[in-house]
């Protein structure tokens, strides 16, 4: 393993990721096996910063911005973090927020529809409002309480 660390530190791009102060956590995976017919050891680094991470200096936290370096017989893609990018939008947070908004809208529409059809005593061939609301409410709660990208 020290050989690998030495190899990473001798590689300017790998070293840039290792000493990058934006990353607060690291995970390392090592797998022995056969790759493309050749016995090899694949070592993967996975860098990240938790959403609640405190970042020193004037750099803004890269929320769940994970970066992976690999050392093995495969030439790994060189990943360099652009220091000019100080703030990124987490796409998962965008999806989650949009999802919550859409679920709220749909649930509101179904509730209003159920109330109006009941009030006006309208008979209409449609799905069960109770079923829709139960299902969508559960999915809404799962979406609200699910969390992503946490290192455990």
């Amino acid at each position: 393993m020290p050989v690998k660390i030495k190899a990473w530190m001798n590689s300017p791009t790998h070293k840039a990721n290792i000493i990058n102060s934006k990353y607060r956590e690291i995970g390392i995976g090592i797998v022995n096996g056969t790759l493309n017919g050749i016995k090899t050891t694949l070592v993967v680094q996975h860098f990240g910063t938790p959403i609640s991470g405190i970042v020193s200096g004037d750099q803004t936290s890269e929320e769940n911005n994970y970066n992976t370096d690999k050392v093995g017989i495969i030439e790994s893609p060189e990943i360099i973090v652009n220091p000019a990018v100080s703030k990124t939008i987490n796409p998962v947070t965008v999806s989650k927020t949009l999802g919550l908004i859409m679920f709220t809208l749909i649930l509101s529409v179904i509730l209003i529809d159920a109330f109006l059809t009941y009030k006006n005593k309208t008979y209409r061939l449609s799905g069960s409002s109770a079923g829709h609301i139960s299902f969508l409410a559960i999915i809404f709660l799962l979406l609200l309480f699910s969390h992503q990208g946490t290192i455990f």
Binding site: A130, L136, G149
Partner: protein
């Protein structure tokens, strides 16, 4: 309200639906940090909800293509929306 009346009219069917949803919720949180399994749970829960709707409306004798499509779209939308946030 019509929702409560609907549940009271078909208590067994709605109990089955609630059991499906509760099991889905428990399994979702049981597989916390395992997004692949969580995705499977979401897809199975969506499919179960769709199957429940077919049986429910078949028993109500009002099963129509428009209703099937309505449930299908809601199940697909919910499952895709939730699974797209699991990493």
């Amino acid at each position: 309200m019509s929702i409560i009346k609907e549940i009271k009219r078909n208590p067994i069917e709605f109990t089955i639906l609630f059991i499906i949803l509760i099991i889905g919720t428990i399994l979702f949180f049981y597989f916390d940090y395992h997004p692949h399994n969580q995705r499977r749970v979401v897809y199975v829960t969506g499919a179960s909800y769709f199957a429940w709707s077919i049986i429910h409306h078949y028993r109500q004798k009002d099963l129509e293509l428009s209703i099937v499509i309505e449930y299908f779209v809601i199940a697909i939308f919910a499952a895709l929306m939730l699974s797209s946030t699991l990493f």
